[in-house]
């Protein structure tokens, strides 16, 4: 902070002497004539000193792109933890209980549902497949949860379900992009990038947008799902790892001491300051700031990413596996990051694509294992945030990129070895939990077999509008000027889902 103060002061002192040509022309009231006169008399610089009438000063954002900005409206939450189950979990085995579907198990899917539909793999006439899990109504809310999630059912009153979310994409890559950037095509900023761009980040020693992955693979859509699109790249997600160095190359190389590193950065900064004195370009100050932030992060990031310092009971509660890459570790890290003021934490867990081709991708076995892997950590995350008073100011979002079909997958029009369900974007379940969310709510309903939403359908844009609303934005006003027009996360759609708001 002292450094920033010194920088601002230095800037103000030097500013008058170091007007760029652009500043000069802008503030010189006599315009080009004055320019000509000025150069005739004694050169631009000295003329601008006297010719300058306005004292333009830079905002904090010019110096530090992650400086905080208050949101336009009163926010309900200050941080978001987004849990994305990459591959798309089956709503029919987790939250969307369809007893009718059980009765119809094994029957041919009615043609009316198949006409004009595209599926990723289903061919011909598939058979309906009843839920492969048992369901119970839990808590005061009486919301349905399956026996695949025996821990989560105890916190079901904390969350609000969206039972009829729909998307227009049925392949992983585009659907993930859509879910995280509001567009199935590349090039748009992710939600986390929008949030950090719009609000900045409180902790000056940590990135504002952190991404953690588990399940052995990163999402199909690649890093664009946490990219910054057309926003300045400083707002993109910083991928941290729960195994090995939390950020690649964060440790100083062997033989380089912390002191040497410091003097290196000091030397670079000194040169940058000289450049700044010459040109007065705020970008240079921002760069100086970035170097210093990176230096501070070298200490702060490994500290916050170290789960070994957590007490034993907490580690047990989450079920962490130190030294491994696991969703449980990432959940605990997410809590620690939010506790340290990180704005947006994005978790991706891979392995939910239960087509039934292999055992690990089967509805009754592989999916169940995946559920076991997330059941405890998510339950622990909710409870841990709650007991620390953080759940009031944090939003947890859970979901996949789409849902799965009520029909059993019949890849190549054959009966498959394992039970699987195909991609399905017409209706799937998501839930939200935390500040501003109506506890125990359930919005939307699907038809008897869970194929389409019949009531309270919400789009991906609606989900985005709701997240932005909770952070204090009007999604229609929150724009970024690019290629000659203002862009929004929600494009030209989306409305806030008030039904799940407290």
């Amino acid at each position: 902070m002292d450094n920033l103060e010194a920088l601002i002061k230095e800037h103000l002192n030097k500013e008058a002497q170091s007007k760029t040509r652009r500043h000069f022309i802008k503030s010189c009231s006599s315009g080009l004539g004055g320019l000509a006169l000025g150069s005739m008399l004694m050169g631009c610089e000295s003329f601008s000193k006297t010719g300058s009438s306005s004292n333009r000063s830079f905002s904090e954002r010019d110096l530090n792109p992650l400086a905080t900005i208050p949101p336009p409206f009163s926010p309900k939450v200050k941080s978001v933890i987004y849990l994305h189950m990459a591959g798309a979990p089956s709503q029919l085995e987790m939250f969307d209980y369809k007893p009718k579907l059980l009765k119809l198990h094994g029957q041919d899917c009615p043609q009316s549902l198949l006409e004009g539909r595209k599926f990723a793999f289903i061919k011909g006439t598939p058979k309906l497949m009843g839920p492969q899990a048992e369901f119970v109504q839990e808590g005061e809310s009486g919301n349905w949860v399956s026996n695949f999630l025996p821990h989560f059912k105890n916190v079901v009153d904390e969350v609000a379900f969206l039972k009829a979310v729909h998307t227009d994409q049925f392949n992983h890559g585009p659907a993930q992009l859509f879910m995280h950037t509001g567009s199935a095509r590349l090039g748009r900023p992710s939600i986390g990038a929008w949030a950090t761009y719009g609000l900045g980040s409180e902790n000056q020693n940590l990135p504002g947008f952190v991404v953690l992955t588990s399940g052995g693979k990163t999402p199909d859509a690649g890093k664009s799902v946490w990219g910054s699109g057309f926003l300045p790249s400083v707002y993109q997600g910083v991928q941290c790892r729960s195994k090995g160095d939390p950020v690649l190359y964060i440790e100083d190389p062997e033989g380089i001491s912390r002191n040497l590193k410091k003097s290196t950065i000091d030397a670079i900064n000194k040169i940058n300051k000289e450049e700044y004195a010459k040109y007065g370009d705020p970008e240079i100050l921002a760069r100086i700031n970035q170097y210093e932030m990176a230096y501070r992060m070298q200490i702060a990031v490994p500290e916050v990413m170290n789960i070994n310092d957590e007490p034993e009971n907490i580690r047990r509660m989450y079920g962490v596996e130190p030294g491994k890459e696991s969703f449980a570790n990432n959940c605990l890290l997410a809590r620690k990051l939010v506790e340290e003021g990180v704005r947006f934490v994005q978790l991706f867990d891979w392995g939910w694509d239960s087509h039934g081709v292999v055992k690990s991708g089967s509805i009754d076995m592989g999916l169940r294992n995946k559920c076991t892997q997330i059941d405890r950590p998510i339950t622990a995350l909710i409870l841990d945030l709650k007991q620390r008073g953080l759940l009031d100011e944090t939003l947890i979002v859970w979901g996949g990129e789409f849902g799965r079909t009520p029909m059993q997958e019949n890849r190549g029009n054959k009966k498959m070895q394992f039970k699987g369900r195909d991609h399905h974007g017409d209706a799937f379940t998501m839930w939200m939990c935390g500040g501003g969310i109506k506890k125990g709510a359930s919005h939307g309903q699907t038809d008897d077999i869970g194929f389409s939403g019949v009531e309270g359908r919400v789009s991906v844009h609606d989900v985005h509008a709701t997240i932005l609303h909770l952070l204090g934005f009007d999604h229609e006003q929150f724009t970024f000027e690019f290629q000659g027009r203002p862009f929004r996360l929600t494009d030209v759609e989306g409305s806030v889902i008030h039904e799940i708001l407290a």
Binding site: M1, M317, Q387, R388, G389, H498
Partner: protein, 464 residues
């Protein structure tokens, strides 16, 4: 060539002002000279130039019509009136010259012709203005009373507000359905402007329907155009209101559906219609839960905020709509009791204060008592024991205190139950044993002792 014609076309809005100027000048000269009659030779010259420039305006206008894709129907009146004005201009020139071939016209007194000419050029100019600025450009800023007097459509958004205590007594049609229609439909469907021959501002109009027939099918919303067209996807050709107009909310469309389904009653209360309260929830005034008091305060001076920031404390308005501040020591873990004085400049605006993880001790409570608007307080991960916490009792708005991971003692708990507005208290990892004596519960204060566990289940270790 195309470039030239297009350029000339775009000059039309400039060029038209030349004939207007000449003509008005000629008319005014005639008016001032009507007694002396000394300027008889000047006036025809003005009309001569008026006519020439008018012809230029006609040509450029025609190019603009060709080049900018206007529909003939949009511009036809302006076009022909423009040509007429130009011709009339030459006519006026010869009239003032008293040319011999205009004998019959020379009998008409020039003043009558000038009045006619003035009317002609006014209409032509107005029609042109309508094309560039839109038909209601001129009348839009008029107050509603004047618009009514002129017979222009008036249209005012109606707020739909229901209240918890008497929502069932509200008239379903008058107080809910009609305002929805007024806000979303009536600007185009009324007696003033009757698109598709449909009027939705009166009961008769709604029942009568429009050019494609009835809009209401009794008790069947899915067959009623009124609902169906609102419910179509926004980019559907038949969607109403048109996609560039403001749209009714989902709740409003849903309510139109429900109203039709119960037989579109016009004289029932909501209670009589039997519709569920859920459909109306969107119209109840929202109690907005915010973390600052409902008390007006002045803005903190930017300089004092800057000074505090330079001390390493995060301080920022909670949002752009309030002067209340959120203050956090997240970047200043070395903050101590004596540092508190740097916050004095913003003591009137501090609503959220996060001192978590700092070096503060029990003597902080006396100082916290000087933040009259304090609403949310975090003292987690500190050494405080709670000695002197009774000094917070003067705080009228304090609704949440986080004491988790501190040395807070059970003996000071009772002082907290005296806090007027307290709603939430976090006591995880303190020296307080979970007790259920009910004092807090009685006062509606949620106490979170934490220590949640996720017990081991046999299923946890099963791998399929």
């Amino acid at each position: 060539m195309e470039v030239l014609t297009q350029l000339l076309g775009r000059l039309h809005p400039v060029v038209v002002h030349l004939p207007i100027g000449f003509i008005i000048a000629g008319l005014l000269l005639h008016w001032t000279d009507r007694k002396q009659q000394q300027l008889g030779k000047v006036i025809p010259v003005l009309f001569y130039w008026g006519g020439l420039s008018g012809a230029l305006a006609c040509v450029s206008g025609y190019f603009q019509y060709l080049g900018e894709g206007y529909l003939y129907d949009t511009i036809k009146w302006h076009l022909w009136m423009g040509i007429a004005t130009t011709l009339f201009c030459f006519l006026m020139m010869y009239r003032f010259k008293e040319a011999s071939f205009l004998k019959p016209i020379n009998k008409i007194p020039p003043t009558a012709l000038t009045v006619l000419f003035f009317v002609l050029i006014s209409i032509t100019g107005h029609l042109g203005g309508n094309i560039t600025h839109g038909k209601n450009f001129l009348t839009e800023p008029l107050p509603n009373s004047v618009k009514n007097f002129l017979g222009l459509p008036t249209y005012e958004k109606k707020q739909i507000v229901l209240h918890e205590e008497d929502w069932q007594d509200a008239q379903l049609y008058d107080e809910v359905i009609q305002p929805i229609l007024t806000n979303s439909c009536v600007s185009c469907h009324s007696d003033k402007k009757m698109k598709g021959e449909l009027q939705l501002h009166t009961i008769e109009g709604i029942l009568k329907g429009g050019e494609s027939g009835l809009v209401l099918e009794a008790s069947n919303a899915d067959e009623s155009d009124l609902f169906v067209r609102m419910n179509l996807p926004r980019d559907h050709e038949d969607h109403m209101p048109p996609k560039d107009k403001s749209q009714p909310s989902k709740a409003e469309v849903e309510l139109i559906k429900q109203w039709i389904n119960v037989g579109h009653p016009f004289d029932q209360t909501i209670g009589e219609s039997g519709l569920d309260k859920d459909y109306f929830l969107a119209f109840f005034p929202k109690k907005i839960e915010v973390n600052y008091p409902d008390v007006q305060v002045s803005q903190a001076h930017p300089d004092s905020i800057q000074a505090i920031k330079q001390f390493g404390i995060h301080v920022e308005p909670i949002s752009k709509v309030t002067p209340y501040l959120r203050v956090s020591c997240i970047n200043q873990p070395n903050f101590t009791d004596s540092d508190f004085k740097v916050l004095s400049a913003i003591s009137a605006q501090t609503a959220i204060l996060d001192l978590g993880g700092t070096q503060v001790s029990d003597s902080i409570f006396g100082r916290l008592g000087q933040l009259p608007q304090l609403t949310v307080l975090a003292l987690d991960h500190t050494q405080i024991t709670g000695e002197g916490i009774d000094q917070l009792q003067s705080l009228q708005h304090l609704k949440s205190i986080n004491l988790s991971h501190s040395n807070f003692e059970e003996s000071h708990l009772s002082a907290l139950s005296e806090l007027k507005s307290l709603q939430k208290l976090y006591l995880y990892q303190t020296n307080v044993q979970q007790n259920n004596d009910g004092t807090f519960q009685e006062k509606g204060i949620q106490v979170d002792y934490g220590n949640y566990e996720v017990p081991f289940l046999p299923t946890d270790s099963i791998v399929y």
